[in-house]
Amino acid sequence: MAERFLMKGNEALAEAAIQAGCRHFFGYPITPQTELAAYMSKKMPKVGGTYLQAESELAAANMVLGCASAGCRAMTSSSSPGISLKTEAISYMAGSDVPALIINVQRGGPGLGGIQPSQADYWQATKATGHGDFQILVFAPATVQEMVNLVGKAFDLGDKYRMPAMILADGMLGQMMEPVEIPDGSNTELPEKPWATNGHQNKREHNIINSLYLTPQALEKLVRERFERYEIIKKNEQMAEEYLTDDADIIVVAYGASARVSHSAVDSARQQGIKAGLIRPITLWPFPTDTLAKAAEHAKAFLSVEMSMGQMVDDVKLAINCSRPVEFYGRTGGMIPTPDEILQQIIELGGEK
């Protein structure tokens, strides 16, 4: 077992990407993801990789599009306002079936917003990371170690399903240090990408990476095929962690930083004799509908806790088909809920018994 050492979330994301075989990073400075790019600028030259500080988030994301089109594991990272600019290229990548990794270390919004941790980009990540009919894989780590683990997973699944993948973190996770073990990626085998535009070497027909289909029938057919793939992903790739849910009356649903706080609140509720539990979605798309639907068979109520005005709460309601009351508690603008605030909500819900 490798030695555990302390690492900032942002740096751990970067190192994990390198260990996952990523050798191309294209970025643009923004708080609170800065350490990720800085780490890449230091490390990439040492491993024969590319660190490029682009002229804008638009350019950085489009460099990723080009690099990933050539078959490389490529990535970019940013924080909320920067991700809005990257959505152009993300939509094109989704429409061209090009896999890549995008990291969003979320901060408060809208507009320039703030720089403190937030989860207000849930809708953007899961519903509309750009224009058009498409989804991307969205992973929501809650610890620095999980950030490490999910980076490799995001690259792997992105390659497998030929689609962009996002790590949806936040300023708290990006800035904090926790003990981590980084897997040694020297044996990482990267998949063959016969579709890549890396030069046909006079051995095959030319490959085209493209998202333009002027014939509506052709575009519809392609989008439908893509959505069939999404159904397979929904069936196979949902991830969630359950904590004390077996006998729970009240189930808190929270991801990322708010799941950590909720975890403490659930412990406190249990100490007071309230049967509370926690479902922590790890994939936000595909949303862990199955876990929630199963929990709805016995739970009396759900509480979605988010660092937003209530975005995931809609997916919780859909997942359980509104068969139980679903309440919401959130802080926004960079505020982080406290365990006591969440406990109070659990107590109020528990009191309805």
């Binding site: 610890t143 800035q175 926790e178 950590r260 975890h263 982080i336 406290t338």
Partner: protein, 178 residues
């Protein structure tokens, strides 16, 4: 004494608040504990106040943001004023009394006044008041083992600043003597 700690360290940027937090965190880590370290970030880091939450626990850590610390190190007056009332009853407070000319009015805390900045200057340890306070914290709480603490210092002082290592260790010892 509890083996779980929710610590808050606060002071001016440049006093080594984040570094002191890192030493404490590695101390816990070296004893096999779960750890989190969360800095304040953004413009306030550049010249304004800096603070840092450190959690040490036997179990997985929930929120890394410490809003009600059981342990508080204060290195400037604004931070002292801002956080002193958030400290949990029975908590440990360590004050750099050279920089903070004020006494704690609450009577439900274990307060220790250490003129760390003055000691550091007198002992040729300029800039290591933070580590003197860590030494004092260790003495009063035993948040980790002594071996783990010295290993932590070794881990946190960059190899290229090897001459700083002995000074840091000296600062820890001085803190323990206070």
């Amino acid at each position: 004494m509890s083996t779980n700690y929710n610590m808050l360290l606060a002071g001016f940027g440049g006093q080594g608040i984040l570094f002191a937090g890192k030493v404490i965190a590695y101390g816990g880590l070296n004893d096999g504990k779960e750890i989190s370290w969360l800095p304040s970030y953004g413009p306030e880091m550049r010249g304004g106040t800096a603070n840092c939450s450190v959690c040490i626990s036997d179990k997985a850590i929930g929120s890394p943001l410490v809003t009600s610390p059981d342990t508080f190190i204060a290195m400037n007056l604004p931070s002292f004023d801002k956080f002193i009332n958030d400290v949990k009853p029975g908590g440990t407070v360590i004050v750099d009394s050279f920089l903070i000319d004020r006494k704690v009015e609450r009577d439900d805390l274990n307060v220790f006044y250490v003129p760390a900045t003055k000691i550091a200057e007198e002992q040729g340890l300029k800039g290591l008041a933070n580590i003197i306070l860590v030494g004092k914290l260790f003495k009063e709480t035993g948040f980790c083992t002594e071996e783990a603490l010295y290993k932590a210092v070794e881990k946190c002082v960059p190899a290229r600043k090897a001459n700083m290592l002995d000074l840091n260790k000296k600062a820890i010892k001085l803190g323990m003597e206070q």
